[in-house]
Amino acid sequence: MQVFKRKPLTSQQLSRRSTIAVIACAALLIVGLWGFQYWSASKGIRLEVEQRAKAELKVKQLEIQKVLSSVEVAMQNMDWAIEKGLSDPDDFYEVAERLVSTNEAIVGAAALFVANFYPQKGRWYEPYVTTDSTGQFVHKQIGSASHDYLQFDWYLKGLASPNGYWSEPYYDEAGALQMLSSYTQQIRDREGRVVGIFVADVSLEWLGKIMNAKPLYPSSYNIMLSRSGQIMASPIETLVLRHTIEDVTAKMSDTAVKSLNINMKAGQSGTATIVNNKGEKNYVFYAPVEGNTGWSMAVVCPDREVYADLRATTMSLLLPMLLGMLLLGFIVWRTVRSARHLREMGEQRASMESELRVANNIQMAMLPKIFPPYPDRDDVDIYGLLLPAKAVGGDLFDFYIRDEKLFFCIGDVSGKGVPASLLMAVTRALFRTVSAHEAHPAHIMTLLNDTIAQDNESNMFVTLFVGVLDLPTGRLRYCNAGHDAPLLAGEHVGQLPCDPNLPVGVMPDWKFTAQEAIIYTDTTIFLYTDGLTEAENAAHELFGNERIKKVAISAEHRPHRFVHAMADAAKQFVGDAEQSDDLTMLAIHYTKQQLDIRFSSIIILKNDVQEVPKLATFVDQVCERLSFDPATTMQMNLAIEEAVVNVMNYAYPAGTEGDVKIEAQANDQRLKFVIIDSGMPFDPTAQEDADITLSAEERRIGGLGIYLVRQLMDSINYERVDGQNVLTLRKKL
């Protein structure tokens, strides 16, 4: 089964997410509040607009009612005259004139009688009074076969309406060229029978003025419909009486308009929301005109204007709100980022600390740490200890034996931390590299200095002590570059005298001076860093050289005991104070025992390879004395020949003569050959070994000699003593 691991989020992703989450929550809250505020405000506005529209409708209603009532009242006032005039058909002209005169809305008046009411007037009798353009009354009898009012709908309705009837509005094309509506009242005879209708042609000129006056909103408008749906008033004049509301709204896709039309024509009042084909929302408030006109009014308010203020306010709120959101987002982002920054700093510190630990481990791993390092040797024992302070430091010590010489060093890099530790590592590596082919401490130090001082931009330096102890003879050569002088603890305790050299890395091309001392058996060379001398107690006193000497005098000379006695003394002195610097100590106990010489023989040869057969005879004799088998004898021959020929070839310049002295010496443990010449300083042990793994084509012709010596003998050791090269080869017995 394959397991899919979800990729862990980076801290950056996390913080981005939390920022987004916080902003989203805030945005949601703000939008919610905003929406609620908008919703409640729009509800209020809706209520308000409804009230305003209803009030508007009421006002219009009252204004219209005023005119209509005046007509109706004028008509009612004519009742008695009409009744009186029934006896004379021509009296109606006078009545009609009076009616037209009394009310300026009434542009004409007529009486229409049932068929054959006045036999002398025929089947149709319709006396009609109107005014001409000069204001003079005009009398006409317009009832006739061609104007058969008896069939007219409004006549029949008027005849049937005891409380008066308002006809459908119509356009007076023959007369006043205006919209009219006729108001009819029944004419009754003395017996109360309806014998006809009295009609006032009422101009509806004023209706448009009333309806179109002062709209509620800039683009809102009012309309009026007749009971059949004809448009009686509209801001668009061309619609008036030419179209029904059904015509006008036929193409509208919003079906609500149909029921609105029906409701209006049915004389109901109410509210409707209509969306026109342009997608604009309109609120329609409608109510009938009271009375018996059958008219219906509506106020149409466009949504955008009703809510214009609210939206403007809302929009004006939106900008500060957006700014607020941005500000909030910024604050959250900053907070999250600084939190992340803190966390990352913590992580970085943790990783730095762990890297420092690793660096410290590497540093420690570089130091010799197997003690005793040479359990098989009886001439030297060594113990080293580095107690690091909290951070990685720059103390170092190192030692190794090459060709019967103990190379050792102790040093302290200026400063602390990683740079110091790096320089410490470099110094230690250089010490090993340089001393591999160089046994002179001043030369080693010079090479180290040249490398480190070069490009030393950070101006770091190392106080360093380099010693080379010739183990067979106890001759110590050393070079001290500004380090604490080591202590020699033997029968007496004293400091090793040291020349004042600069520390390594301070000045390129500094000529370091080397010094020599003879180390006697059972003497301890004790080296330390200033972590020991400057170990400080709570009273700010330093451990100091005197205390070191005191401990050295009483301490046991086995290096492990010696170092720990010193460490314990320092620790006791310091007490609870914190260790401020690395504390490094190295003790070298020289224990060379001179054994009784059992046998000794000397031969002196000229620096001529033709002397080699003499050498062979000499070596054969020595081997015979020691009862070596032929194989070992051959090996001794080969080794000594190679060593001697090497000296003959290189120590003396070509053409110069000189002697080579070979001394064979044996004790109970080993046979040694000491080859001494007075030629130029020449250290064969510094030569590179031949690489025996190469192919014939790659093999160099030379370089085999010293390689064979190293293979055949147990040790090879070179010393320059008193102007002579001294090469010692040893073979264990």
Binding site: V609, Q610, E611, V612, P613, A616, P630, A631, M634, N637, L638, E641, E642, V645, A690, I692, T693, L694, S695, A696, E697, R699, I701, G702, L704, G705, Y707, L708, Q711, L712
Partner: protein
């Protein structure tokens, strides 16, 4: 140190007898000179009576081998005693030469 060069069955054989130390190497180098003219052929170094060899002698062997290798010839060695064989092993020469 004595040497002898013979042709045996199309192979040039050089017999080496005695101690080939640094002192003897001077003469042996001169004795070997004719072999350099035949390094396109197979050369056999017979060491049956060779008692001793130092790096100077080994150097001569290597010089001859280098010359043969560059001309496509072979240098064989035979008859090494165990002491000399150990020297050849020690110096890596046993892997350079072909032994018969």
């Amino acid at each position: 140190m004595k040497t002898l060069i013979k042709e045996e069955n199309d192979i040039i054989v050089m017999y080496l007898e005695g101690r080939l130390d640094t002192a003897a190497a001077v003469q042996t180098e001169a004795d070997m000179r004719p072999l350099y003219d035949c390094t396109d052929r197979d050369i056999m170094l017979d060491c049956t009576h060779l008692e001793y060899i130092s790096s100077s002698g080994l150097r001569l062997f290597l010089g001859l081998l280098k010359s043969a290798k560059s001309k496509g010839g072979h240098v064989f060695i035979r008859g090494l005693n165990s002491n000399l064989q150990s020297v050849f092993n020690m110096t890596g020469f046993s892997s350079l030469f072909e032994f018969k």
